[in-house]
């Protein structure tokens, strides 16, 4: 940070005041303010429950919440994995064949632009109230970020690298696995991360439209009963679920791409 002053703070303070505590602090302050504002303005619990009330609701309804979490988690993970796998597989022909690109790309774009949420009620007609329509919505919402980033990643390989590789007389498959794929991976992961966030949204919407279980369903019913603390408890679980998926993907990225610019330690070293 340019010129830094010699700090004269005591050691115990430096020990407490590190990167982790700094990030945690903003959360602590946020919840504390929330709690105080609700108490101070005497906000009714069914309008905005206090964080401590939400915590109590989590404890009280934990078994229902965990059941719902497992249901939502299943549609989330299934839909997401199918989207990632099929998105990458479909990106290959689009990226490598001019013909496929011309034939398929406009259709893909057309489907991409359809507000997929609007399709959710139709999926209920087609697939009923069980898991399949939810998986379908999760899939639709996370498929396109994976596909589009997959295509961009595979296409934007440096032409000079390809030329150099061609001059080694390497086989096409070798070029793909040793050059094209690794250099596309960072862009793939950008798509995976975007998709992880969309997928969570998709999982809830699927349950809003028609469901008898899951966290989205819990939120709806708790809302109907004005049990706002219960609804917030479900939202908390949902957030944790989404974050878990996101960080799993990011963790995988860290393991696979330690060389990539987004993963370099020196970017985060500044305190």
């Amino acid at each position: 940070m340019g010129i830094s002053k010699q700090s004269s703070y005591p050691t115990w303070l430096k020990y407490l005041w590190n990167r982790k505590t700094q990030s945690t602090l903003s959360f602590v302050v946020f919840f504390l303010l929330w709690e105080l504002v609700v108490i101070f303005f005497d906000v009714r619990s069914y309008i905005l429950p206090r964080p401590t009330e939400i915590a109590k609701a989590i404890v009280k309804y934990h078994s229902q919440l965990i059941d719902a979490l497992l249901f939502t988690g299943r549609s989330l993970v299934f839909g997401y994995i199918v989207a990632v796998v099929s998105g990458i597989i479909l990106a290959l022909p689009v990226a490598f064949s001019k013909f496929v690109q011309r034939a398929i790309y406009p259709i893909l774009l057309f489907f991409q632009v359809i507000p997929k949420i609007a399709l959710a009620p139709i999926f209920v007609i087609w697939f009923g109230f069980g898991l399949p329509p939810k998986i379908m919505i999760v899939f639709l919402l996370s498929f396109f970020p994976v596909l589009i980033n997959g295509i961009i990643g595979l296409r934007s390989v440096d032409q000079e690298i390809i030329n150099l590789t061609r001059s080694t007389g390497a086989k096409t498959l070798d070029i793909f696995f040793k050059v094209r794929l690794p250099s596309a991976l960072p862009t793939f992961f950008a798509g995976f991360k975007l998709a992880a966030i969309s997928a969570t949204v998709g999982a809830v919407i699927g349950e809003f439209i028609g469901s008898d279980s899951g966290l989205g369903y819990l939120i709806l019913t708790a809302n109907g009963d004005l049990q706002t603390d219960y609804a917030f408890a479900a939202i908390t679980f949902l957030t944790v679920l989404g974050l878990t998926l996101y960080y799993l993907v990011e963790g995988l990225e860290k393991i696979l791409l330690p060389w990539h610019i987004s993963q370099r330690q020196d970017l985060n070293k500044e305190s």
Binding site: N163, R166, G169, V179, S183
Partner: protein
């Protein structure tokens, strides 16, 4: 003793069709290069120098003419060659050593056999101790030295260098010129080196080809016979400056440099 031609470029013509019409990159271009020769091609940007390198390497087709390397007509990517581009094009996910060994991996040659040579080359360009580093940890000059090692590891008889030092700062460029000459003196490979830096050309070349603006033709040919290694000598030598002057004059005459 007359040494044999390793590379023969015969009447090569190359046109590109773009939205703005046809671009004539090379026009009936012929050139013979002797084995062990350090040939430098100098020319204004856009004169088809890089196109020529790509054609010689077989990475780009030509409209007319042919290229013969070691009696073999180039027809598709030619593999018995080392290429250094203006950008280092190292692979970000491979260590320095693995980048140098990249061609060996792609050619499916035994890695163990080439590892000692790779280490030796890295030492020659003062990169020993960096073999486990990743490209992002190196400076621009170090990256380009690494890609030079990569180009010559499989011991190709012909080295094609397309403005290899063009993206580097002046001091690093001087250093790399010295390093390259050292390596070249040790291996005596045939080099085709493309640049738009006149001093660099005079410092490195046995023979200099001065190109015309598009479509690229040979404007002038100069022989440099200053003894090697050259660096200090070149700075003290009047002939060096005369040659630099002569090439610059020919660019002025062609209207590449306007006064």
């Amino acid at each position: 003793m007359e040494s044999k031609n390793i590379l023969s470029i015969q009447n090569v013509t190359k046109k590109f069709s773009t939205d703005q019409g046809t671009v004539h990159a090379l026009d009936n271009f012929s050139l013979d290069i002797k084995e062990g020769e350090f040939l430098v091609i100098v020319g204004p940007s856009g004169c088809g120098k890089s196109t020529l390198i790509s054609i010689v390497a077989g990475l780009l087709g030509m409209d007319e003419g042919q290229v013969v390397i070691n009696g073999q007509k180039v027809n598709g990517p030619f593999t018995d060659v080392g290429i250094v581009f203006q950008n280092h094009v190292l692979l970000d996910w491979l260590s320095v050593l693995n980048n140098v060994l990249f061609q060996i991996t792609m050619r499916r040659l035994p890695r163990k056999e080439y590892e000692p040579r790779a280490m030796e080359l890295l030492k020659m360009v003062a990169l020993d101790g960096f073999e486990k580093s990743f490209p992002y940890e190196l400076s621009g000059g170090m990256k380009q030295r690494c890609s030079l090692c990569r180009a010559i590891l499989h011991d190709p008889p012909l080295l094609l260098m397309d403005e290899p030092f063009g993206a580097l700062d002046a001091l690093t460029r001087e250093q790399l010129c010295i390093d390259l000459e050292k390596i070249w003196l040790g291996t005596r490979k045939t080099v085709v080196f493309i640049t738009h830096d006149v001093q660099e050309a005079v410092q490195l070349a046995d023979r200099i080809i001065v190109m015309t603006p598009r479509p690229g033709r040979i404007y002038k040919e100069l022989i440099v016979d200053t003894p090697r290694p050259r660096y200090e000598r070149a700075l003290a030598d009047d002939k060096f400056y005369h040659l630099v002057e002569e090439i610059k004059q020919s660019f002025i005459k062609q209207g590449v440099i306007k006064r």
